[in-house]
Homo-oligomer: 317 residues x 2
């Protein structure tokens, strides 16, 4: 989940939430307790383990965890597909799932992000001149023949979205190279521009509307952006670039654009953070997603666990 790591591959394997069985946690008064049981199933009162996940240290300090493990997949195939528009690339994401394939990763990358990485890291890679956006698609499993079948099925699905070409990584080195492009994108953005990153997430099928909306809002408020991220999960990192914006616009006007961006994610059935969390920076946007009644339930839970507000104070709310 580390920011800028290229993130987890969660499409096929689910989020961290699905792997955590039990936490040892230190409560506000110093009590140490285990939140649940080391079991796959649990129906014994409120699930404090699940409540603690994503609570950002505001309910207790997690000191140990018990995780579910799954077998390491034996093989994988990695493809890089290029598209002539952002919307086509985003629409193609759902089409892969709609033909019954669940890849281990589907990552979206805008052309400008690719260009900056290639330049910054001096990678030898020729981008298709007509490509505006890319999908990095990985399938994994125990049998190579089946994986190639899956890739053919995916290819056929992508064709409907004017896919320009699909490159297969033909060696471990090329796989590393493709993944490196994705993984270093945050670093390249950082070294090319002052930026702010928003962690938008929507239902997968709404990605075309999200990407179109991001660009419309950018035009309205005068910012450019580079989007990339875990499209298979409906999770796009929006890197808002300062570019030629004045310091005043960057500090003040941009906020209205971010509000509109989150209003859009919520309207599309999404939320204001998919994996990065709220902390200090995003808490002013919580009311976009949540009613006062909803926030009061969260504040009430906080008070039950931390009546004196000593655990990671001022975060989230």
């Amino acid at each position: 989940m580390a920011h800028g790591s290229g993130g987890p591959r969660v499409v096929k394997y689910g989020t961290i939430r699905e792997y955590v069985l039990n936490f040892e946690v230190v409560l506000a008064d110093g009590t140490i307790l285990w939140t649940g049981a080391n079991t796959l199933k649990y129906a014994s009162g409120y699930n404090l383990t699940q409540l603690l996940i994503g609570s950002e240290g505001t309910l207790g300090i997690i000191t140990k965890m018990v995780l579910k493990l799954i077998p390491q997949p034996l093989h994988n195939v990695l493809m890089l597909a290029s598209f002539s528009t952002n919307e086509d690339a985003c629409a193609a994401v759902s089409s892969i799932f709609n033909v019954g394939i669940t890849p281990s990763a589907v990552e979206f990358m805008e052309r400008k992000g690719m260009e900056w990485v290639i330049e910054n890291d001096q990678i030898h890679f020729n981008l298709n001149p007509d490509a505006a956006a890319f999908l990095l698609i990985e399938v994994d499993g125990t049998n190579m023949d089946m994986l190639f079948n899956d890739c053919e099925t995916i290819n056929t699905a992508l064709e409907k979205y004017k896919c320009l070409e699909v490159l297969f990584a033909d060696s471990a080195t090329q796989k590393d190279e493709f993944w490196k492009i994705r993984r270093t994108m945050a670093v390249s953005v950082k070294s090319n521009s002052i930026y702010k990153e928003e962690d938008t997430v929507v239902p997968r099928a709404e990605l075309p509307k999200l990407i179109a909306g991001i660009k419309e809002i950018g035009l309205k408020y005068g910012f450019d952006s580079i989007c990339y991220g875990h499209a298979g999960d409906g999770n796009l990192h929006v890197n808002i670039l300062k570019g030629n914006m004045s310091d005043h616009a960057w500090q003040h006007d941009l906020k209205k654009g971010i509000v509109e961006l989150f209003q859009l994610t919520v309207k599309l059935g999404g939320t204001i953070s998919g994996e990065h969390g709220i902390g200090l920076v995003q808490k002013e946007y919580m009311h976009i997603k949540y009613s006062e009644i909803h926030l009061n339930l969260m504040r009430g839970i906080k008070k039950v666990f931390d009546p004196n507000g000593i655990l990671n104070p001022d975060k989230i709310f």
Copy 2:
């Protein structure tokens, strides 16, 4: 999750918890709200959706839900393996996962349960005379050759636990018959004896200790039991049979045995209910699993959501 239905096949696909994205819920004061977002990822404050799962109607009334869907598997293979002891059957469960296979179901059944079903439902099925316990093992996927490979790998794993024989269901009818034996076991127990069912759950690797402990506790308190259930999840339903127990022993002494049973599940890293929940019947055993501090956290959450205690009152606590 319905009691006596034979339950969900959750080994490979995870629990319901992993499929729920969002709830529409009616709160105690009549407010209607959605607990989360319709997204695979969610890191925007406390996850009320996950908190509501398993809360048994005590925090709010769930009126709608948004679920994640996965592709229907195309093929499956069903095997019935027999073992000469309960412990061998239970130990064999982990061995399947340890060779890298994740079946879609691994169900444990004691011989007496099988006999009662066969008698009750007049099923034509000859039990291996040396078999004390059975595992119903299902693998599923998109390719039959791979499934047969998986079955061979499983067979080799089972051999180490003195597996007597493995029967493959060779038709859809036989698959239905094997599943019917498992699914009607609760009904057969009910029609043969007064019984109490406990929903024990432990880490999968602890199943041999659990089954041995159940029988030891039975000897100590004078009860027989029939155990069956979702062994792949470490979840065994213990059907305690009244048999020749006096009404007094059944009403009073048995409780001490149940307390010991839950002390055992907790000692093994498990809990007092895997899927059935607490309700009214199990709430007196909550203190076996939870400290007063832990219970007070749960009670505090209850108060935040339902200050007047009008939602499913007196349940869980």
